[in-house]
Amino acid sequence: MKSVLFLILRRIGTVLLTLFLVSMVVFSLSSLLPGDAAQQLLGQSATPEAVAALREVLGLDKPGHLRYLDWLRGLIVGDPGISLANDLPVAQLVAERLPRSLLLAGIAALVSVPLALTLGIASAMYGGTRVDRFLNTLTLTMVAIPEFLVATTLVLVFAVKLNWVSALSYAPPGASFGQFIAAYALPVLTLFFVLVAQMARMSRAAVLDQLSQPYVEMAVLKGASLPRVVLRHALPNAIGPIANAVALSLSYLLGGVIIVEVIFNYPGIASLMVDSVANRDMPLLQTCAMIFCAAYLLLVLIADICAIVSNPKLRT
């Protein structure tokens, strides 16, 4: 038990160290982008003097490492600075947008994960049969279609031609359940398309790998039925790889969210990040990048913990 705690603490330590390294990379990369916020705010016709004065006000004239330390300190205490583009605290902007993104990602995950796992396990269970081949073709097709194509096709069919739902997806506070569904149907469906295929294929591979183990043959020779063999014997040993596949897919969700939010004009954190790039709004951009990275690391951490806890060799 002690060793499990130690293993988990060590993983958490690794995550924190990674975050620190990423913060350095994010900061130095974003300062490499051409132009700066002062230039952007004042426009092309501004005098060099005016630009220099504004830079001083914004603190852009300080050396890079000092700006980094300031920013890092702010990040740790929860005050990642003032957005250069609209003069609002970055924390406030993020607090407004992040829950919406999480809601979208959460619904997408809630719909996709159980279905993907069911498809993957079923496909492994009937490996080599017609069911397996059909599911394989289906998931491969889904993996092959890029999400922007799925999104625009869905908009074209359901919003433009059939007019069932709005092309813009935003449910105002206090919306009814029906409105809520209508607003989220298309973006969630888009994300679902990409997610399900990957997770289903990877969990199929993980379960199939276990099904080729001698202990599975042993279970068959004890007279266990197929569902029992797969669910009671193979699945518990496939949890580690499956959790990792799910974490990787869900982290892909973050990337997917950017395209989906932009296409459906959904006011989430990803569209905030896209705007910040356009405005050279470094504090905001850096914070968004850190949030995406932290979310990714958190998912991987959870997967690792699942793998540790499901393995008696590590657990005891």
């Binding site: 183990q213 001698p214 202990y215 043959e217 042993m218 279970a219 068959v220 020779l221 004890k222 007279g223 266990a224 039925s225 029992r228 014997h233 518990p236 040993n237 499901s310 393995n311 008696p312 060799k313 005891t316």
Partner: protein, 609 residues
């Protein structure tokens, strides 16, 4: 008629790449009377496991039982549908697999797996099943029968796991149990305990059993009837005594002669007494080293040995005793933490990077598993040509000529040169593996369990080849093995390793009769003999009471825990001395030579004093 199991005209086919089928078991027929044991014996590829599994209506990986009849009691197994088969498997016929470690589900407790078949078939309640399981654990002499079930498979030893699997097979009180090489993966000293436990349970419960094995000596202890198989066909079927004493078939005779121990003439009595390899006070292991340079997991502790030029040293020990680690240190794959390795009196650098090309050339290693040691997609000429070019700069025709000569040395036709390693048989691969080492023109060849993965007949041919090569080329071998009969038949000198320490060293003549170190004695006594009733007669010293666990001095005797003749107050207190016996062998033991010559029972008396 008292035939319990009756198989006739059994034919099993396997698919080939091009939509065709190849017959792997052809027209096999046998019958087993109730309560008797039939052994299926043969080499790899003989179809013995396939036949055993077909008794459960099961065929592996795409294979198909294409015709025949299998009757278990009144049931025709081959006419059962899927649910009928499920009712048969685990309930009426059960299976004990070769590798218990792989056949237990790593994420479930032992009790859950042992009782599973009872619950699947609804034979009894969970509570009743657990009571039965504990009874079986006790009958199979497992330690802590009450609590062992709550452990996970990785928490018990290999020998225990094998017995737990037998408990798993027996718990539904099946009418037929299939044992598929159940002791092949075990050390010889563990094997005998497992065999004794199996035999007792089989006799007490009157179980009808099929015992699959490649080892005639083991089968002689377990079976009432023997069925000899070769390439899917029955060669001979008869009572155990008849098959062993008067084998009628020529193939059976080959099998028996291959395992009859023969003393191979080493043929070079006139060698110089010049040491080729010397190892002094070697300490080596894995993991990070502490500030004294001791590794976190020391494997070899204070090992000393000498190999004279042109002689063969056999290194013997059970799994985990450090045999392969020793080879890795000599080959330069693992640096020694302490001690020295001298080649021709010159110290050898510990790492590969520190060694010269010539030092590489002089020591070559032949690995156990030729399947993985040779790149299957390289041709034989590539494999042999590489050391010829690397060490001797040979190219073109000269190289071709040497490759031909190498193949000739290991008795393979020159046409093999163009074939890929993956296309060769196991024995051929091991010959190429050996030829690859010889191509460097070495002085010392490290042979790490070179015959363990081979069938008896093929392995015996490799051993003969080793002896011949030594006579012709004058190379020395360090021959690492777990099998004392092989070592005794081949080697001039023998070193017995136990838990990383050399407990006995001497010439092979000293290993023919006592006195031995108590561990060597256990090792020698545990090798099954080709003789019925040996198992019952084998004089088994009473297993000692385990010592109370605690921090133990590394200096103490490594065999302390298992030693049947340990002396309380001496062995667990003082480091054992190195004693040279009158026959010239050296042992690490507190006992005097006279005491070691006593039969075990008198030992205990001597120890009481």
């Amino acid at each position: 008629m008292s035939e319990h199991i009756k198989v006739s005209g059994l034919k099993v086919t396997a698919p080939t790449g091009d939509n065709d089928e190849v017959t792997i078991v052809d027209d096999v027929a046998f019958a087993i009377p109730r309560g008797e044991v039939l052994a299926l014996i043969g080499e790899s590829g003989s179809g013995k496991t396939t036949i055993a599994l077909s008794l459960m209506g099961y065929a592996r990986g795409g294979c198909r039982i294409s015709s025949g009849s299998i009757r278990v009691g009144d049931t025709e197994v081959l006419s059962l549908d899927r649910s009928g088969l499920r009712d048969l498997r685990g309930r009426r016929v059960s299976y004990v697999a070769q590798s218990a470690a792989a056949s237990f589900n790593p994420s479930k407790t032992i009790m859950a797996q042992v009782t599973e078949a009872v619950l699947i078939h609804g034979v009894a309640s969970r509570k009743e099943a657990e009571i039965r399981a504990v009874e079986l654990f006790r009958a199979l002499s497992l330690p802590e029968p009450e609590s062992i079930g709550s452990r996970y498979p990785h928490q018990v030893s290999g020998g225990q796991l094998q017995r737990l699997m037998a408990a798993m097979a027996l718990i539904t009180e099946p009418e037929l149990v299939i044992f598929d090489e159940p002791t092949t993966a075990l050390d010889v000293t563990t094997q005998i305990d497992v065999l004794l436990a199996f035999k007792r349970v089989i006799r007490e419960r009157g179980i009808t059993a099929v015992y699959v094995s490649h080892d005639l000596a083991v089968v002689a202890q377990m079976a009432d009837h023997i069925l000899v198989l070769n390439q899917g066909k029955v060669r001979e079927l008869g009572k155990t005594a008849q098959v062993l004493k008067q084998p009628e078939d020529s193939y059976t005779q080959t099998l028996i002669s291959a395992i009859t121990p023969c003393r191979r003439d080493t043929g070079n009595e006139a060698t110089t007494e010049q040491p080729l390899l010397e190892i002094r006070n070697l300490v080596a292991g894995y993991g990070r080293s502490d500030k004294n340079g001791m590794p976190a997991m020391p494997i070899l502790k204070d090992v000393n040995l000498t190999i004279l030029r042109g002689r063969t040293l056999g290194v013997i020990g059970e799994s985990g005793s450090g045999k392969s680690t020793l080879a890795r240190v000599v080959a330069g794959l693992l640096p020694a933490a302490r001690g020295e390795v001298l080649l021709d009196g010159e110290p050898l650098p510990g790492t590969l990077a520190g060694r010269s090309k010539d030092q590489f050339r002089r020591i070559q290693i032949v690995f156990q598993n030729a399947d993985t040691a040779l790149n299957p997609s390289h041709s034989v000429a590539q494999v042999l040509g590489r050391p010829l070019t690397f060490y001797h700069g040979l190219k073109g025709n000269e190289r071709e000529r040497r490759i031909g000569a190498m193949l000739d040395l290991v008795k393979l036709p020159a046409t093999v040169a163009g074939r890929r390693c993956g296309e060769l048989s196991g024995g051929q691969k091991q010959r190429i593996n050996l030829a690859r080492a010889l191509a460097a023109d070495p002085e010392l060849i490290l042979c790490d369990e070179v015959t363990s993965a081979l069938d008896t007949v093929v392995g015996a041919a490799i051993l003969d080849l080793l002896v011949e090569l030594r006579r012709e080329l004058g190379v020395s071998y360090m021959f690492i093995s777990h099998d004392i009969s092989t070592v005794r038949s081949l080697c001039d000198d023998i070193l017995v390793l136990y838990a990383g320490r050399g407990v006995e060293a001497g010439s092979r003549d000293t290993f023919q009769q006592p006195p031995f170190h108590p561990y060597t004695e256990l090792l020698i006594d545990s090798v099954p003999e080709l003789e019925q009733g040996w198992l019952e007669r084998s004089r088994r010293p009473v297993a000692p009471v385990p010592l109370v666990d605690g921090v133990r001095d590394l200096e103490l005797c490594p065999f302390l825990d298992r030693c049947p003749v340990r002396i309380a107050g001496t062995c667990d207190q003082l480091a054992p001395p190195r004693v040279v016996l009158s026959d010239g062998s050296e042992i690490l033991c507190h006992h005097s030579e006279a005491e070691l010559l006593l039969p075990p029972r008198d030992y205990a008396m001597a120890a009481q004093r």
